[in-house]
Symmetry: D2
């Protein structure tokens, strides 16, 4: 249950304050150039402590490849990657040793497993997403070979919406803002919440460019369904939209249909997916993150023995998890697309014959 993907399958392990976190990536085609510097650069985009808009926890997040690569190329065997935890401060958590933090998984993990790993959320910590980014970076290297690109940025913070989506701009923005004209306002909203010992939500917009027609395995491993699972499974995500998403529920069919001409679709309300299969247009989705549940304001809660307590959280936390979350969305999207590319091979007998004859 700690694995994802069918043909390109990755599994992750590790807890926020354990020795290390890491992943196993199985199914990478042999002969792919594994650019370790690139993988590290992706981890650097997600790593904490880069600015006042992020948690103060500093982690080098240096990734080490343990297997599956020989002389710079993938061998077709599992690629194991490990990231050691270096900056745990478990004592920050001793005061909540037996307390369930509202909005966190503490309560549900304890009741499911009967055990309380109180150190920074243990397995449920967003720290695990570093391993996703490492796996996603390898997927991105594979997609590059096929001229497929995954881009993302922050389209909304605390209700302040981007009006333009400039993915190049997002790459250079410290908060990955898509709209330069909204960036300052969005930054201020984050800092205000931070100063108020509170947190804000945000939205990541992800686009996949260059994906071929035909990705997605109907009817129960559809491209949109699997992307929704991948994104909804991220910490703090509460909604996922494909294309026009929610808006389309309020429109007319005649407005929502994407008509077709010889040179392609006249619009992309569908977000590049029809019947769960990519149609060659940009694949577009919006991922909605709730505000970081870790806030310093006093809150009502109970202990593992169900005693009521009022407490104020300590520790180091992101005032807006969507910021670093958008890097993880990209990684997940890349992993899904790479998996679908491999699954799609063999959809037709002519393709199979061509491959073997």
């Amino acid at each position: 249950m700690n694995s994802f993907g069918m043909k390109l399958r990755y599994s992750t392990f590790g807890e926020s304050h354990g020795k290390a976190i890491g992943c196993l990536l199985d199914g990478v085609p042999a002969g792919l150039d594994i650019d370790e510097a690139y993988i590290q650069s992706e981890l650097d985009r997600r790593k904490p402590g880069k600015s006042e808009f992020e948690t103060a926890r500093k982690e080098a997040d240096e990734v080490e490849i343990l297997s599956g690569v020989f002389e710079g190329k993938s061998t077709g065997t599992p690629i194991a990657m490990i990231i050691y935890n270096t900056n745990q401060k478990s004592k920050d958590y001793t005061n909540i040793k037996d307390v369930f933090r509202p909005g966190h998984a503490d309560f549900t993990y304890f009741h499911k497993y009967g055990i309380r790993d109180y150190r920074g959320g243990g397995r449920s910590s967003a720290r695990e997403t570093a391993a996703r980014v490492a796996a996603g970076a390898v997927a991105k290297l594979m997609l590059k070979e096929l001229d497929i690109e995954v881009l993302s940025g922050i389209s909304e913070v605390a209700g302040i919406k981007a009006e333009t989506f400039d993915y190049a701009k997002a790459k250079s923005s410290i908060i990955y803002a898509l709209d330069a004209d909204k960036e300052e306002e969005q930054k201020e909203a984050i800092l205000k919440a931070k100063n108020d010992h509170d947190s804000v939500g945000g939205v990541s917009r992800v686009v996949i460019k260059g994906a071929p027609i035909g990705l997605g395995q109907p009817l129960y491993y559809k491209l949109d369904g699997v992307l929704a699972d991948a994104m909804m499974g991220l910490n703090a995500v509460k909604a996922v939209e494909i294309g026009d998403g929610i808006l389309s529920a309020a429109t007319l069919g005649s407005d929502n249909n994407d008509e077709i001409r010889a040179n392609g679709f006249e619009s992309n309300h569908s977000g590049g997916i029809l019947g769960g299969i990519s149609n060659g247009e940009d694949i577009v989705m919006n991922v909605y993150f709730k505000p970081t549940p870790s806030i310093f304001k006093e809150q009502h809660t109970v202990t593992t023995t169900n005693e009521e307590v009022d407490f104020s959280l300590k520790g180091r936390h992101d005032p807006c998890v969507a910021i670093r979350g958008t890097v993880v969305c990209e990684a997940m999207a890349a992993l899904v697309i790479a998996d679908m590319l491999l699954l799609n091979m063999g959809s037709t007998m002519s393709g199979v014959s061509k491959y073997y004859k």
Copy 2:
């Protein structure tokens, strides 16, 4: 790729205008009372042609159980159920034999598989969802034994939003409306679109009551992720929200967190899921359906040989797929919850020992 679920696994087969559709349901615990009348009654809720708000295609949708049941009880072996197609009018589709209908899967299936089953959308038709409802009905029978209930209704049509969510009312409403005060307005919107040869979108709200704490397998088979996959995988669905969903991205942590008292949570912004695991509160989600792509207005499109044509669709179609879609959402939710209940067994060593000792 035509299967869903891990421990309770179902697979479906069949095309809109083929001989039959059906499903295989594997993993149903032995000894469950299989109430065939109940299964049929669920199919009757989804079946077409019940009113002017639905397609005119009339299908009895009579389900026959072929295996897995002996003397009224499940035997632990796969339950195969079949529904014969009786009212195909394939000739309705001969005029679009080589034409891709905008908003439909025709284009993507053809390019993925190199074959055009033009008869009513073939495999991609929402007709397949009848098989989901049959499987879901068995899941509901299992949930009933555990006092878990899955309810749903239409919370929005063409932008007209329900303000109250009365699931009992929805059951008796011909359009499954949750808000009696909005029902008429919503009905009018549907009929207006129908008379305009157009279609409208809508939203289904689904709630699961009585689910125990602990459902969901982190980190990659989370309850919210799998529900999102299940719902997004339905025909015409473009967005899925859990709990406050999109709203939570615009709120503060101090407003969004559900504080806890000895007798439970003080609110349910999370929609009953924390860290991908159920927390004992109602599990709540909203499922957004786009307008039916099948409209009678003239549209631009191309043929399988990429020639541009303008055409007007014929055939029989739902003016608002969300209506019958809400019944399918219930079925999917029931299947996911039943699967998670079975997967959750064995989460703790004490549970395993209790089972075997």
Copy 3:
């Protein structure tokens, strides 16, 4: 748990005395010519009642395709096939309604599921293998397109061993005997056991010709491992050998290694598999069937309430299940090879690039 295969996945359903048995075959590449007459001819090879060497139960075993085929070609959607049971004589089993037949699954199914479907073994009956043969026939059609052939025959009956392996001869033999010189003796052994109200065991030898190098997914979906699972999972099978199998455990490395020359291997002790991957030689295995547990001699057993009884079985049974079993071995081998062919696509980045560019 009623499914097999990863990329070409099939599921079966049905009980010996239920309405019907059947299968779902998912993952068949689109555009394969589906020769229904050929599928039926494979079922005819397995069907019972063809001679005195088989059970007297007569079943037409007529297969009907319900989905996944349009205008004679596979569409890429699941192929559902159904075979109605026509000659159940459940009353033959009323005398063993509460009795566990020695050597049968009655005892274990009852204790696992708490339910006794006494009618001819219910789900555990070898009747289910008709569905495997139908699925296997489609796999064989796919293999034919790639010039891969699956052959088999009976190499041993009641300890009487074939010395030559003539697969053409086997096809025409009523007991699928590989060695014409042993056929009579083997037939006599079967009839003698039958007249003594007893049964005999036998061995099926299966060979796959023309498989490319590279089939098998190390380290946990190896070709030999999956073949072993597929064969050992068949009713009455108690041992599986690849290549020299048991003999190799008693030889020296210098005798057992297959040395290599420019034009290929100098021998095939390995049975065409090295490290779980096909090496281009014939893939060879031996499948050992125990004697039919259904015998008419009086036996000791107990009832579902654990009362001791001595009883003599009635009903209609094969005196040697290996005979018809060899046809099922072929089907399973074909399904495994077809699955491995599809899984193998995407093993190398150059293959992936070639496919998409």
Copy 4:
């Protein structure tokens, strides 16, 4: 494809001469006492270089747990274990850099993946089995809690067969011999082959004691089928028998059936499995290992460019892989049984209700 198991799922990574090998074990129930010393002791049983009967390669095989354990107990999250390689001598292999060793996977891996990791067999090396033993040790800890024991020993070396099966004796024997009276003869056979620059095959006998009735998921995840896959998938294994195995194919039904009395079965020809489900008797299997393909005698082979060469292997190798292999067989059996125990929960509705009510 580097994973095994459904509910208790483990994945391994690493190459013979890479930085490290290891495994991820997912699905271990929370609250299991994780005795690290025991896990290490199991690795010590398998580790090389303990005697003249094994390879001279010395590896400490010290296992480190990276995750999934908190305060000595499993947390329900993935248990990652790592073993660093310390004694690689890759230069031993430079003379075979481009040469395919007969009987090895070199040839098939190269043709499947287009890459040659010549260092000690890379991923295909039996070194990977250390990771299996680590995972298996955790499974054994789980089985112990349920009073289930997995035992094994060597029943045959170079054709010299044990006549008694003394599992306690095997534990203390340097070659894990089951029969004290045959141990010397078996040892001599190994040393003779070693001195002749050759190798010998052998047979491991595995027995599982105390398994409850009902393990195994028919019809395609049967206990015998999955055990066959698990064992056949081990390096050098060429045949697997359950119970009387091959012998049963030559006997009569009246001899082979295990008759039943109120206190249990009168015999155990079936090896404790009927219809793919455990029947409460000892589960017994024999696993046949071919001779180590690595021998020092000159052999014919070809290079990666298909040039013929005669060469003599260097390096350090086991003269009889079955010896250390039997420890791996135990580990695999433990993993399969633990997986089946977890899968079996939920087989009946009464069991499910008991668990949740």
